[in-house]
Amino acid sequence: MLKSNTLVQSLAGFAEYARKKGLVLSPAEVADGAGAVSALAPLSLPEMKEVLEPCLVKCVADRDVYERAFDEYFRIAREEVPAIIAVARSENNLRGRRTGRKGVLTKERPEAEKGPENAAESGPKEGWRAAFGKDPSLSEPFKLFLSGEKYAAAARLAKNPLTDSEKREIVVAVSRLAAQGIISKADLPEVAAEIERYAALASEVEKMRSSFSKEDRQSVRKGVHTAHGGAHAWSSAADWLFDISPEVLAQQLEKVDKNRLALLIKEAERAAAALKPLIAKAPGSLGRKKALDYRKTLRASLSTFGEPFRLCCTAKRRRLRRVVTVCDVSGSVKNVTGILLAFLYGLHQAFEGRVRHFVFVSEIDEVTPYFSLDSYEECFDKVTRAAAVDYRGYSNYGKMLELLWDRHRSAFDHETLVIFLGDARTNRYDPKGWIVKEISSLVRKAFFLNPEDPSEWYSGDSAVATYEKAVEFVNVSRFGGLVEFLRKLPGLVVA
């Protein structure tokens, strides 16, 4: 059990770390956490995680962030915890090597673990320990280890891992002490055993450190904050989106490779997580225009028989517009569709059921139900494999529009925002521009995101010239263009 001041320091440190990871924690919540731990006295880290969760996690979306932050912080960032685990593991491994089976205790305690009662017997042996302790060229963890303070040694190693030069220094020190006669021939096996134990401990500590992923270390160093909580204006809250490197923003979307695509999808998911609270609760609701509420006024006044007559006003209700996306899943456009849908997947719940997704090549199918799946990977897998579209066919925008208009006309009304995504290349089929015009006349606004380079837009079988009469084309040939469009999306969606 942690002592109270250590507990408070640990929790405060964890709170700071969790804030860097994107969890918004107030001092009151941290105090509640300390109170909870004191009240329920958890005996292990998993129990402590369970006890702290109700105090620190205030919505289901934060649970993953909390669990990751807790595991990382108490597993790695606090030296005591990995140090304890590393010492236990290294001792277990060493015992296993002696007996041939891991984890099996021998009847005989190894000599190095003999306690102070044997100090008299090991008088001359202690000479080399003391000599090592006084050697200025040796590292602090090694000296602590030799003096029996294994946990402190492991904690130091967690901060400053064993380097090659330190290993060399130890070997040089052994040679020096042997030359001086402080280490005798009889002492050598014991010295070797101690050094082996120290090396095993350093190795275990290093394993704990390396399991901390590279990406997470970078994000801890960067101190990336997500725009959680609080009411921000759209532009300032979405500004974090521009916390993306210029190199990534300049990435051409049509030619993106698998690794880069994964990175871009992750950025899109991050964007969705940041914007989700803003769509779910629109900013500036306090400043919204209030209108006279006749029903409330009459109810309030009737109870006093009209004396006094109280006027009651209510703020105009926040309204979410409907969103319909129609995305091409053929060829290279599929990657761009993947990024856009990753963003929309993250916002799916915030849209409160007012969003519908369609994918097409020449046939079109609705894929909205897949957005309720547990992970985006599952969702996109279904979208690109399981929809009733001819994945291997050639894009035929005209046929797609015809099917969309026949089967799903009800999806479009004056409160709908439509987002088409594709290169508008019809493979010489009739583009059926009139349907786009009809849709555009029904809906609030229609956008056409084109991932092709604008210089190619009016060439060959491109139908941009036909469609742009009815819809607004948006250049998303680079990731920055898509980011810019997504930045504006909340403002278009929330009435």
């Binding site: 107030s26 329920l40 105090c55 919505c59 649970r63 609080g230 139900p369």
Partner: protein
């Protein structure tokens, strides 16, 4: 205050099967004297948790069902204006006599304030929140603010004082402080996002639909005649059914109703046909009925394969 292990035993004794997290949160709610915000999909057992907790604490459950437009007069307190006017009318002569001889308006008002208790206890209508904070009989209460997400932001703001300070300020009456803080549950189906101010005053509990093992335990707890094997089969079927993404996902109470229906009509060894006959218990539309049939067939096939 009960420890989590004690909550575990006591909740099971009232036929509620809790998870470790539920027990920890209830224990913390008592220790820290904070309300509990329970979120989760519809039918996960959020309301039933409050009822079970009230039963364990031997407290009266005070329920406030939220809806859009709910305000202070429905949730916290109201004055019985009709009664005030009636009394005023009836006591007009008495009041006149009382005010006879007063020299100024201020003196008359002062006398009325002192003598005429029109803003006192007898005209105050205690709505659920005030009833929970300051019960008339001083016995313990558990307050359930059900489906708080159906209310609006203004109503949430009304609850903030109560949830943080356990007081209700009534301008005409004074501040009422809770002598014994009730256990408060707020439930939400997440139809809208609640404000941060409300969330931060509560302990948070996410209550999801139970997994197979827990659902089987719930069925056994609620349906005493059900054997572990029967409960397991029903839980397996429901897990398969939910996996097929029906439009209406069956709740825990519907799971119990299905178990009761199957036990009553077919007994322990129910067949696919028996499940089809009981579809109306949990399948609330045509498409879900088809899914129910498929799930029943699939579960039956799995059972035969296991045998």
């Amino acid at each position: 205050m009960f420890k989590p292990t004690q909550w575990q035993e006591k909740l099971r004794s009232v036929s509620y099967v809790p998870t470790k997290q539920i027990c920890a949160v209830l224990s913390l709610a008592q220790a820290l004297e904070k309300p509990v915000l329970v979120e989760g999909p519809p039918g996960a057992g959020k309301t039933y948790l409050a009822k079970a907790a009230a039963s364990v604490l031997n407290a009266k459950l005070v329920r406030l069902q939220c809806y859009e437009g709910i305000d202070v007069s429905r949730a916290i307190y109201e004055y019985n204006y009709g009664k005030q006017l009636l009394y005023l009318n009836a006591l007009r002569d008495r009041v006149s006599a009382m005010l006879n001889g007063t020299k100024s308006m201020a003196e008359s008002v002062d006398i009325l304030d002192r003598e005429a208790p029109f803003w006192g206890e007898s005209f105050l209508v205690r709505r659920p929140v005030l009833e929970a904070i300051s019960p008339a009989d001083e016995k313990p209460r558990v307050l359930l603010v059900d489906e708080v997400d159906r209310s609006d932001r203004e109503f949430e703001a009304l609850l903030l004082e109560v949830l943080s300070d356990w007081t209700v300020s009534i301008p005409e009456y004074g501040t009422v402080t809770a002598k014994k803080k009730p256990l408060v549950f707020l439930t939400s189906n997440r139809t809208r996002d609640l404000s941060d101010a409300l969330r931060r005053r509560c302990l948070y509990l996410w209550l999801d639909l139970p997994d197979r093992k827990r659902e089987a335990e719930i069925i056994m707890a609620q349906v005493p005649e059900a054997s572990p094997k029967f409960a397991g089969r029903v839980a397996d079927f429901l897990a398969e059914y939910r996996n097929m993404s029906p439009r209406h996902v069956p709740s825990v109470s519907e799971a119990v109703e299905l178990a009761v229906a199957l036990l009553a009509t077919a007994g322990e060894n129910f067949t696919v046909e028996d499940v089809e006959a009981a579809l109306s218990v949990f399948a609330k539309n045509k498409d879900d009925a088809k899914i129910g049939r498929r799930a029943a067939e699939k579960t039956a096939v799995t059972l035969v394969a296991e045998k």
